[in-house]
Symmetry: C2
Amino acid sequence: MSKQGKPISEAVVRRLPVYLQVLNDLHVRDVQTVSSQELGRKLDLNPAQIRKDLAYFGEFGRKGVGYDVNYLIEKIRGILKLDQPMKVALAGAGNLGHALCNYSSYVKDNMKITAVFDASPAKIGKRINRLEVLPIELLQEKVREDGIQIGIITVPAAEAQNVADRFIEAGVTGILNFAPVVLKAPDKVRIHYADFTTQLLSLAYYMDKDGTDEHEQMVD
Amino acid sequence: MSKQGKPISEAVVRRLPVYLQVLNDLHVRDVQTVSSQELGRKLDLNPAQIRKDLAYFGEFGRKGVGYDVNYLIEKIRGILKLDQPMKVALAGAGNLGHALCNYSSYVKDNMKITAVFDASPAKIGKRINRLEVLPIELLQEKVREDGIQIGIITVPAAEAQNVADRFIEAGVTGILNFAPVVLKAPDKVRIHYADFTTQLLSLAYYMDKDGTDEHEQMVD
DNA sequence: TAGATTGTTAATCGATTAACAATC
DNA sequence: TAGATTGTTAATCGATTAACAATC
């Protein structure tokens, strides 16, 4: 919700983590203050859009000066609720699952993967980062027990809906889905799609292969 | 470009691979024909939008009947240029890089990872799926030699821009970037972002933690 | 024929950008 | 003060949805 009580558009929320990326980088480089113009350059975004996005949540800048980097980081972290710890579970201990588990930078964002599940007997009992891989049948029980809020799905496409149903039944309100399928879920559960094949295939559209223009006509 | 010669919006192109996902599933289940209404249900999209999206490229349906599943698959594959082989290189042989290399379903989409690069001496020379990991210094040479069109970046954030510059110098026209940074690139190079932390952090915005409504006021 | 569903135009809705008064 | 930059309103642009004639 914005300060005027209007709901915030998805486009705005999607941009906030990217703002945070750039601001964190400025912070590391000890930059104190940044203008919307400078941010726009770094983000490849219109400065007016950045000002408007931020203004939904409050007045974070100083006219004639710009935005205080650290203050803005704290504000955006607050908006995204990254100042509160959040529990995450992962289903699918394959290559991708491993990659996500080992990704450490969640920590500063208060995100913690506290459970990993898999269906394959070969994987159950193995450890990923001190975390024992549990059988998928225990998912609902464990998610309820731990109060897990977000489920990450890295199982094969054919099992994704089943796993999603388990997560939803156990009460998660957010799902990050890496499987190349559209999931069915009640409105109260938010689903973000992170399947990279979709990204890769749409990239293909913009390539002009070997330089041949497919609209070019042969002339003789 | 649409049949009227107008450029196609990014939103439309992003949806096409998802259409393909659902259509492939229908094909596997031997469904011959599907209506925009049925597709809309499966995709969680407005049927009018699906009809409009497809109509940019031609008249693929039959009034009163719907769309022939196989025919539509072929058409969309053609639009996305998946009927022509496309060469892909990957930089960053970490966990995520491994996961992407092992992902086999590119094959049917004519996508082939033909080179893998890494900066770490410990990884150079190792093999991933019969593919030898090459030193990052050889990137430009190899990409030119093989005529690689797309670069996938799975290196740490700090090195992502450098790797992108190498890819661009070597002539790729598409980059799929998994590093959590905004890349600078000339307009002719298309960049798609696949960083999942962004997706995860924006998901946090929609969670209401432990059920407490942050707008609720204490009353005594 | 009657029913269904497309392709397309018009209407609506939403998001981005420009412009500028307020003010640091 | 003069210069810079915000926050916000108005203008523009683009994308989604509704409606319906055409037609299988």
